[in-house]
Amino acid sequence: MVVEILNDGGYRSDGRRQYELRDITIELSQQGTADGSATLNHGLTQVLVSVFGPREAKMRSQTMHDRANINVEVNVLPFSTGERRKRSRADRRILELASTIKATFEPVVQTALYPRSQIDIYVQVLQQDGGLLQACINATTLALAAAGIPLLDFVCAVSGGVHAAAPLLDLTTLEENDLPHATVAVMPRTRRVTLVTLETRLHVDRFAEIFQLACDAGQVIHKEMKRALRERTTALVDALGSGLGRPTGNDMVDRDMIMEET
């Protein structure tokens, strides 16, 4: 049974149009004792990222005198793909993924503010359906923001591929197996690109198209991420406010008194 990547009506195998992104679901609830955590879904790809830090480094030898050390560990659950595969923590693909994420966030996190500390980023891949690097990067941005670690900007990543000269965005596993594809991560405010990876062969002209499209798609993802973070922060601020107790009417409230000049 041959599945059409892009049929004549302009629809892909999962019913999306050419430039349509999958459903994005963002959950920023707290996980354990992590300083910040985020669960992100791109369609059926689900990734959970927990951030600890900045905190004292577990291994002193890895610290740097003038900035924080970013440590990324990726854990892929064996039942995340259709076929069960138990990957050891030192699996080469996983280490490559971790070092890619680290390289993406090195210039974005303001590490100079925290010398001799460590920021730990733990990525759990719960379900995979294509676009893994993109999901990991987006979830890491959210987790870092939720942890309150200063960033220069968001990092929004999206994957793109080409099918018979037609560019497609946000690929599923089916599409990734068949098409040459690239992942691009952009910083939406400054429009700077912090990551481009391409592991297959792609014509230079097609690549330019994909690149441009991915930068635009990054803006869309940025909007979603900002909305989710704003919701969460608003909820936290409200909780803070209600905890202090709103002063009612004539109650004398202990406030900072401004001393009048006598």
């Binding site: 996980q31 004792t33 992590a34 659950l77 064996p78 039942f79 995340s80 759990q124």
Partner: protein, 342 residues
């Protein structure tokens, strides 16, 4: 298991409060109270059965607690040439996420993972609990059941959580139905058939005479199997009521308490883990027992703890059963009625 570091003063404070009358715990529970347990089955759609369990999630911000995600995957194994065992086999493994144990080094994490894996595997892969429907073709093909449990966060009592999640995932597992298939070459019509009255007595004649619809004996001689098209994902694992539940009794002589938080775990020097199985027609059986910690117990104490442990396990089992039935209803019956309405 891994515990937070705790000062002597804090340790003594917790022990004294537990031994007081009435016994006091930091969150106001009694000695035998469990925290809120949240369970959801069918969370990993790519797996044959899955469950997510959370003990002690705080209701307001929705975070914290011990969270375990367990999933079962079934794969076909060759008995003759591969590692398969006639009748199927079960392999369990536990993965500890580094975010659950942020203070542990990578080696310590591996050791903890190995300890929990051994405990889970030795208990669940035991022949006394082996489900009857894991074989496909006798002496040829069988299912390999892989149970993977991932500890996402740990706020105490991880062993109970692991066993409960494993039980729920195994309860939720659907084994795909298989049908034995045999290919038989078409035999040419015997050339001498029309000639005379004396027919050669062909040893294969008996086989020919039997109707092609009779498939009773096919399983023994079948060479392969196929998956027939069915409206559901398969049949449930046989004997799924027998999977054990575990209770961890934290012991500060002379009393014991259940469901410890990390500071409480760090304050107890003795822990008894008991896994009980409650089959429907037989008496309950003790499937696993581990005594952990640097203290010691007298034999009569162990006997009374076993009796207490069985009672606690019984209650836990009843509660878990009720919840699993609920989940069945939520996912199957309600889905069916909703579909029928449409």
């Amino acid at each position: 298991m891994a515990s937070t570091s705790i000062s002597k003063a804090e340790r003594s404070y917790i022990q004294t409060s537990l031994q007081g009358s009435p016994p006091l715990r930091a969150d106001g529970r009694s000695l035998l109270d469990f925290r809120t347990v949240l369970l959801e089955t069918g969370v990993a759609p790519l797996a044959n059965g899955s469950a997510k369990l959370n003990i002690g999630k705080s209701p307001h911000e929705g975070g914290g607690g011990t969270e375990v995600l367990a999933a079962v995957k079934l794969e076909v194994e060759d008995v003759e040439h591969g590692e398969g065992v006639d009748g199927g086999r079960i392999v369990c493994s536990v993965l500890c996420s580094p975010s659950a144990y942020p203070h542990l080094s990578s080696n310590a994490l591996d050791e903890l993972q190995y300890d929990l894996t051994t405990l889970l595997h030795q208990t669940l892969a035991h022949p006394s609990l082996h489900p009857p429907n894991l074989g496909i073709l006798p002496h040829k093909k069988a299912w390999l059941l892989s149970l993977d449990a991932a500890v996402l966060t740990d706020a105490g009592n991880v062993v109970d959580a692991l066993f409960m999640a494993a039980r729920a995932a195994l309860w939720d597992t659907k084994v795909p139905r298989t049908r034995a298939v045999q290919y038989r070459a078409r035999r040419a019509a015997p050339a001498t058939g029309h000639e005379g009255a004396d027919m050669d007595v062909d040893p294969d004649q008996d086989q020919e005479a039997r109707s092609g619809f009779d498939t009773r004996d096919m399983v023994r001689t079948a060479a392969d199997f196929e998956l027939p098209d069915y409206w559901d994902e398969g049949e449930v694992l046989g004997g799924r009521r027998n999977w054990p539940v575990a209770v961890t009794l934290n012991i500060i002589p002379p009393l014991h308490f259940l469901d410890a938080t990390p500071p409480e775990e760090a304050s107890t020097s003795l822990r008894l883990i008991l896994a009980f199985s409650f089959p429907s027609n037989s008496p309950s059986s003790l499937q696993a027992m581990r005594l952990l910690g640097p203290a010691e117990l007298a034999l009569p104490q162990i006997k009374s703890l076993l009796a207490d442990g069985e009672r606690h396990a019984q209650e836990l089992f009843a509660a878990l059963e009720a919840k699993l039935q609920d989940e069945d209803v939520r996912r199957n019956v309600k889905a069916r009625t909703r579909f029928a309405v449409r």
